[in-house]
Symmetry: C2
């Protein structure tokens, strides 16, 4: 029970009968070590249970291998899937994910970024909220890469990855109209994030282009409960909609459940529904929801690949903005197909 704490490279070196540099080089890919030395070092390291101290290594290399994931509610279906893909991709790229939870209070994202700076993270990926310009600039100045996912913003420096929310919403209109719907509605939350608003605007614009009016209602956050409330509001109106596009699958689930169990409306016969995100529940038999699938894997892959590139230093002036296409997952909540 030798409570010797962590074993250092020095000790490995002594046991292997080499210098400490040799040990260091053995664990540095691409360094110059003879096969024999490497073998002896590895053996000693194995016996002693040596593990490189990444804290010290990061100090010298000025590269910690840490990437911060800044996200508000991890327990949301779509967000947790994105989180999973990101951590997997990061691990494949030899990075390690540091998870920072933000709430909706002001400065929450800023605090997260300060944390990223303190731990000398190589990069930060922001999934929720927007950082203050000044703190974002500070990160960039320190050589940190920044990725904003689904947060439309125009400051240069960070990589911005977005969806064609606006255009996708237009496709929803087309699908509804083809199903014979005329009284369109859009159910949104009050969160007012760029993606949510783009979906709303795209939907309304596409409907207008066909001469159709849209009943728009906003309430609460983008969750199941808000969907129920929205259903109660919209389905008690005199002019009841025959198609509703929910800004989010979670909203759609709440909406559908309220429509069915409280208003005894059958879907899709009396009401067509579509959502956004293609969360797992959308494919469950109870919902069988037509929705737009975010290309989560590609988004994660793109983000990680970009920040794994050697920091060319050429960053800063370019305005990197990517836009992905949301694929329509056609299911039974819209008539005909």
């Amino acid at each position: 029970m030798g409570s010797k704490a962590y074993v250092r490279a020095q000790e490995v070196a002594e046991r292997a009968g080499v210098s400490r540099s040799a040990v260091s080089r053995t664990f540095t890919p691409g360094a110059s070590v003879s096969a024999e030395t490497r073998r002896r070092v590895m053996e000693a390291a194995e016996v002693l249970g040596y593990h490189v101290n990444e804290l010290a290594r990061g100090l010298m290399r000025r590269e910690s291998g840490i990437v911060c994931l800044i996200v508000s509610d991890v327990a949301t279906p779509h967000r947790s899937v994105l989180l999973r893909e990101l951590t997997l991709q990061l691990q494949n790229a030899g990075k390690v994910a540091m998870l920072i939870n933000t709430d909706l209070t002001n400065g929450s994202v800023d605090r997260a970024l300060r944390q990223a700076i303190r731990y000398r993270a190589d990069a930060s990926i922001i999934l929720s909220g927007l950082p203050d310009k000044s703190i974002a600039q500070l990160c960039l100045r320190c050589g940190q890469r920044l990725v904003l996912i689904n947060r439309d913003d125009d400051q240069p420096g960070p990589l911005k990855i977005n969806l064609d929310d606006y255009e996708a919403a237009g496709r929803a209109v087309t699908a509804f109209v083809r199903a014979g719907c005329r009284k369109l509605a859009f159910a949104n939350s009050e969160a007012g994030t760029p993606s949510l608003m783009a979906r709303e605007h795209g939907f309304v614009a596409a409907a207008r282009a066909l001469g159709l009016d849209v009943m728009v209602e906003r309430h609460g956050w983008t969750g199941y409960a808000a969907g129920q409330v929205l259903a109660q509001r919209m389905l008690t109106r005199a002019e009841r909609p025959d198609a509703v596009f929910c800004a989010t699958d979670l909203l759609a689930c709440g909406f559908m459940d309220a429509a069915r169990h409280q208003f005894f409306i059958s879907i899709p016969q009396q009401l067509c529904v579509a959502g956004f995100d293609d969360i797992e529940q959308a494919s469950w038999l109870s919902y069988d929801l037509t929705t737009f699938a975010q290309p989560v894997k590609e988004v994660a892959k793109t983000a990680v690949e970009w920040l794994s590139e050697t920091p060319t230093d050429s960053a800063g002036s370019e305005n990197l903005s990517l836009r992905f296409k949301a694929e329509l997952a056609w299911r039974g909540s819209i008539r005909g197909g």
Copy 2:
């Protein structure tokens, strides 16, 4: 755009006209600094955008502030909730979460723990899988605290937090019998983790005690799809069950959907269902599932508090095992209430 990278304590010291130690002490809680010095340091730090380098600090203090969360599938409802609570609690405790994804391959957890060692994490919390004894011992010897959640194991050293799965399953039997059910069934996955098996055994034992037999079926992983398959298997039998306890809410959702939409069985009139975990979907109108709620918040709180205690060094010999009670969330999937 002075691309000066990160600003060091030295620079803050010069600007504030004090020594570097003064800067260091200003950012060390409980250190001896005069109010005036602190003020000048803080001001200079603010202007220059100074942030303590936690890598270097961790090197000296032999305490990185990092806690590793080792988990297999983050995108699962119950796991993502636990993850959220843990990260929140960790942040409140001034720690930071490092997220490591494991797959189901062998040695996956071991690799994660090696990563934890390399980053000199203060502790690791394991939510999925079990580490090899030797590597776990290595962690402990290095002064790392270990927490195992819902992974019954008997090696001393780690804190083990479990649920009264066995006993809870007994309560499910009681509930079913009270509802007039006689033909009980248990739907399980093939994963065979301790918690899942405890639920199965507890259910079977409690039923036997009442002279009732249980139809047990296992299939796939603990997901929605497996629940559907299990329903197809169990509901096509000659002797159809009138009550089924699913080892997991996800299984229950799949089971219920298959029962309703493929077999046109009405719940709870013809079939009573109960689940485990109390995921968000269990409370959705389409399911309204009676289930057992894991005290996630308390579990997270307990875990974080324990590992925040000063490492008394007395750890090691004690066998710390905690068992929490799963609260029955009564809903409409069982008759009467």
